[in-house]
């Protein structure tokens, strides 16, 4: 018998008596639960369990890899950066929390510049009209006005990825929110007064508001010409995204049951609590500093540089600075007309100009989430295995192209890869209308199409008589699988998610019981339902580069200054990153300072989207840390012995009883004998000796203040192993790894009022290692709240293109009152080989399967099937009547 110490993946130390020398490979990085189970079977006695904090467990954990640097897998052991985790995985407050709870955090709303002017925009009063004339004379004459701009007195600034939009419109307007003029004045009130004095004469044109009607040959053309000036013949966007794998006819033959249906999702608002805004200012050389709400500082820099060029500022640069965001949820993924207009106003006036949207303006003039109509057909064979999935998506793009138009690219993932489906036929179409143009929101196409897939699966279950949970289990994804689009499944805990959800819901009793009770006389009917998700978990490659750069700078005081191009918008990026750096480097998190995101000081990053923040930032940081540790420990091999001698001298002076070490200090200072922990560098084999530890700052000063001195600043650039898909064919491994999950819900339907009440929810998520439980809980439950809003309440209502509910009074967002139900959270026990510390992205999944889970529960309760969101009491009552 021998005594061994093992550390589980949540950093619990288990001291065991065993006849076995080591833990089998398949049990490494598993939780206590798994270890104890194995110990019992093997007759291993656990002597002691404790949270491990001492340095002698260092060699036992194998989390942080230096392998990226080598470009080869599993070389972490040699890199010298294997460490225990103290902060990763721990429930630590976010570093920005003290500022946020005291009101010290400064958002764009709170920022001002000396001499700053205020901008306001005149919007269109028609959905589709020719601009006959614009009279700005009265606005210009108003006291305090510094500039009045229109499309006719400014350079043409084209925007959008199809270059079909203009900062200020000329000739015609294509939606109610179109920007026809703008004012800069000394106060926002005067700017608004001036805007109200601008008179625009229009000639109304026939308009189209329905995407199906917009496809008709007789429909009015929204854009007569494309960006290159070529005449257009229809309203269909020149984009192709689809997928075709397998023989559809044969699959239909093979199918024993087929279900098809048309599903719809509405336009909804991201509704960030901090409304949109920016400040633009030029220096005397014509370079722009733009401070504003964006999730894509570097792509915004590229967009604004193009605008500067259009404005005649050839060779000038836009610097983009990101203040605290006040929520983003996708609003910051594109650049917006109001931002370009602010830039034009700042350039015209030579003064800093600020533009800030009111809540009403944000509802009416900022691009919301795109609507979609999904036609789906799925089939299963005799054994309940999916034979095929055929999907056509029609998107109402609105008047101009923004990222909403590219939702079909992200839809590819659930369409081809949610559950094992051998034959997939997928087509998509995006069409211009005179509705408000749309863009990204959390989940980016995934909730839209998962709504159709997961509701339709339940329809298949109902048809075939197969249990809906069993149906999903039979088609469950698993590790090692390559999906029809080429998605490589590196880790997958979907089966665990399905099982846990079923168990927590008491599925086996409740599901049949509710179904049997449908016919009863009771007014209130209960039901359970569930739905699953797949989402990109290792970023999503939708751009030429999907990388993230980082610079770590360790200063003379042992502080780590971090410049990272991704954006903290409330998701907990800084909490995850500071913990990763603290654990990776061996410092305490209070020594980690993350700089404001600024294109002038941070390396390039594609943007904070696709649940990629923590995954990318931590992976990039680990690369940088490996280099820093290597350089620092190399210096120690030369210079540490001297520091130790000084240490010994000081200790001897201070303490008469101190006994100097008898070992050969120079021999002990070998490269493999150093480590860093708690802001101290120490000799591994003398870890408990006070003389063998030197404060990190002191080591850095020694490294700095010497002949040929040096400082530790290390950049790193992490580009995940994924492919940019061929969108037309819908092929490519778009993410380094994939996140899975299942949500279950029990609801009650009041069949007299149509009101649906959520009684409880279960969320089981496979996102690998949990980096910060509280932060993750916020992402999951916050996502669920948005999912509940999507399912039951939210819809941007438009009447002939005009938004009619631009306020929180008329646009309902769940409050603490509606979210008054218990939510059971479970995280699957997975570890992803590409994820930092084994983790996968978890920012968006929370809202992806919520709506279909709720609808499936409603069907279970009362047999109705509503195929368009939101599931309002009116729709429920109408469906109950039709039953």
């Amino acid at each position: 018998m021998m005594v061994g110490t093992w550390v589980d993946r949540r950093n619990l130390r288990l001291e065991c008596q065993s006849h076995l020398g080591h833990l089998p490979a398949h049990l490494r990085r598993r939780t206590r639960y798994h270890l104890i189970g194995w110990f019992k079977r093997e007759g291993v006695a656990v002597i002691r369990e404790e949270r491990s904090m001492s340095s002698d467990t260092l060699k036992l954990d194998e989390d942080i890899r230096g392998r990226k640097e080598e470009g080869k897998p599993d070389e972490g052991k040699e890199s010298g950066v294997q460490r225990e985790r103290r902060y990763v995985g721990a429930d630590r407050p976010r570093p920005e929390a003290p500022d946020k709870v005291t009101g010290k955090t400064l958002y764009i709303h709170d920022l001002t510049r000396p001499g700053m002017l205020w901008g306001k925009i005149k919007h269109s009063e028609h959905a589709h009209a020719r601009i006959k004339s614009i009279d700005t004379s009265r606005a210009e004459a108003l006291d305090g006005v510094r500039a009045v701009l229109t499309g006719y007195n400014t350079p043409e600034v084209r925007i959008g990825f199809l270059r079909d939009n203009f900062a200020l419109k000329r000739d015609k307007v294509r939606q109610y929110r179109d920007e026809v003029a703008a004012v800069a004045a000394i106060s926002p009130e005067i700017a608004q007064q001036a805007v109200d004095l601008i008179e625009v004469e229009y000639e109304p044109l026939p308009a189209v508001f329905d995407p199906v009607e917009a496809l008709e040959p007789s429909a009015p053309l929204i854009h007569e010409r494309d960006a290159l000036g070529r005449p257009r013949e229809d309203n269909v966007l020149a984009m192709e995204c689809g997928h075709e794998s397998g023989d559809l006819a044969a699959a239909r033959e093979r199918a024993r049951w087929i279900a098809e249906g048309n599903y719809r999702v509405p336009v909804i608002q991201q509704a960030c609590m901090g409304t949109a805004g920016c400040i633009a200012e030029f220096d005397a050389r014509g370079n722009l500093t733009f401070t504003g709400k964006t999730q894509i500082p570097f792509l915004a820099q590229k967009d604004f540089n193009q605008a500067l060029k259009a404005m005649g500022l050839i060779g000038n640069n836009a610097r983009v600075v990101v203040p605290a965001l006040g929520g983003a949820f996708g609003t910051g993924l594109d650049t917006h007309c109001y931002e370009y207009i602010t830039i034009l106003l700042a350039h015209r006036t030579g003064r800093p100009v600020k533009m800030l949207m009111s809540r009403e303006e944000e509802f009416a003039y900022l691009s919301p989430r795109q609507s979609a109509r999904v036609h789906i057909e799925q089939g299963i064979d005799e054994d309940g295995r999916l034979t095929h999935r055929k999907i056509h998506v029609l998107q109402d793009n609105g008047a101009y192209a923004s990222w909403g138009a590219t939702f079909p690219t992200v839809m590819l993932l659930p369409v081809t890869s949610l559950y094992k489906v051998p034959v997939v036929h997928y087509t998509s179409q995006c069409v211009y209308t005179n509705n408000t143009y749309c863009q990204a929101m959390r989940g980016y196409g995934n909730p839209e199409v998962t709504w159709a897939i997961e509701c339709n699966l339940d329809e298949l279950a109902e048809q075939s008589g197969l249990d809906a949970l069993e149906l999903r289990k039979r088609n469950c994804n698993e590790p090692g699988e390559v999906t029809p689009m080429g998605g490589k499944v590196t880790s997958c805990g979907l089966m665990e998610c399905l099982e846990v959800t079923g168990k927590q819901l008491a599925w086996e009793e409740k599901r049949p019981a509710s179904q049997a009770a449908r016919a009863s006389d009771s007014v209130r009917k209960r039901g359970v339902g569930l739905a699953s998700l797949i989402h990109v978990g290792g970023s999503g490659r939708i751009y030429r580069s999907d990388a993230s750069g980082i610079i770590l700078k360790v200063d003379d005081f042992g502080n780590v200054n971090v410049s990272y191009g991704g954006v903290e918008m409330g998701q907990g990026l800084h909490a995850a990153l500071s913990a990763a750096i603290a654990d990776g480097l061996g410092v305490t998190p209070d020594k980690v300072f993350i700089n404001a995101t600024d294109t002038a000081t941070c390396p390039w990053d594609v943007g904070t989207h696709a649940s990629r923040g923590a995954f990318m930032a931590c992976n990039a940081a680990l690369l940088s840390i490996a280099k820093i540790r290597e350089r620092l420990l190399a210096f120690c091999a030369e210079g540490f012995a001297e520091l130790l001698r000084k240490n010994i001298q000081t200790l001897s002076k201070k303490d008469a009883s101190f006994e100097p070490p008898t070992i050969d200090i120079d021999a002990a200072c070998r490269p493999d004998n150093f480590d860093i922990l708690d802001n101290q560098v120490f000799l591994r084999d003398q870890a408990h000796e006070p003389w063998a530890r030197v404060e990190l700052g002191k080591v850095l000063r020694a490294m700095h203040f010497r002949q040929g001195g040096d400082m530790l600043t290390e950049p790193a650039f992490y580009d995940p192993p994924s492919d940019l898909p061929d969108w037309r064919r819908g092929i490519g491994n778009m993410s380094a790894t994939y996140t899975y999950g299942t949500q279950g819900v029990e609801i009650e339907v009041d069949t007299e009022t149509g009101v649906v009440t959520i009684l409880r929810m279960v969320s089981a998520l496979d996102c690998g290692t949990v980096l910060n439980p509280k932060a993750l809980q916020g992402q999951v439950i916050g996502g669920i709240a948005q999912g509940v809003g999507y399912a039951l309440y939210e819809e941007v209502k438009m009447q002939e293109g005009r938004i009619t509910n631009p306020s929180f009074t008329d646009y309902k967002i769940p409050t603490a009152h509606e979210m008054n139900f218990p939510i059971h959270l479970h995280y699957a026990d997975t570890y992803d080989p590409e994820g930092p510390f084994g983790s996968k992205g978890a920012g968006e999944p929370g809202l992806v399967p919520t709506a279909p889970a709720i609808m499936n529960a409603i069907t279970n309760a009362c047999g109705i099937r509503i195929r368009s969101l939101p599931i309002t009491p009116e729709k429920v009552l109408a469906a109950l009547k039709q039953r």
Binding site: G103, D110, E189, R359, K774, A816
Partner: protein, 163 residues
């Protein structure tokens, strides 16, 4: 809105009397932010629908976007800035501490309004039920958290204040 010139007013905020000039129609929210530099009180909607601008007026929670600054003379106004001791960065109010520990702030924009609402609640009811907390907070909108951690923060702060 026609301007009729600024008039001097005295406001008692967080225990200190501030003298400033504001137009008769100026909102308390604007005076706090623009005249007094108290940016902790946030503007989320301008329509009394989100609670981001909540402050306490004589201990009662009020939306400062719906109050005229000149009506506030003689009243005691409390904002998020009054909750912690500036001299001691660790001197957070129990609600602020609980908010930070439980992760009640994500983007943080709604936080000051929520904290002020919670403070008024706990002054009136030191030991509210979860249902009561949710009811009291239902005039405040948060788009990030799903409210669970906010409710937990209020419960935890209530326990600390009681003890």
């Amino acid at each position: 809105m026609k301007s009729t010139g600024k008039r001097i007013l005295k406001l008692s905020i967080n225990g200190t009397v501030h003298e400033c000039a504001a137009e008769p129609q100026a909102l308390l929210l604007d005076v706090l932010r623009n005249e007094l530099g108290l940016f902790g009180t946030k503007r989320g909607c301008d329509m009394g629908t989100c609670g981001c601008c909540n402050v306490l007026v004589d201990g009662q929670v009020q939306m400062s976007c719906l109050l005229l600054a000149h009506d506030m003379t003689g009243k005691e106004i409390e904002t998020i800035e009054g909750l912690f001791d500036v001299g001691d960065p660790r001197g957070l109010h129990p609600l602020q501490r609980a908010w930070a520990e439980h992760g009640g702030s994500q983007c943080g924009f709604c936080t000051p309004g929520f904290v002020m609402t919670a403070k008024a609640l706990l002054t009136e009811e030191p030991d509210p039920s979860e249902e009561r907390i949710r009811e009291a907070l239902s005039g405040n909108v948060c788009r990030c958290t799903g409210y669970k951690k906010i409710v937990e923060a209020v419960q935890s702060a209530a326990a600390e204040i009681r003890s």
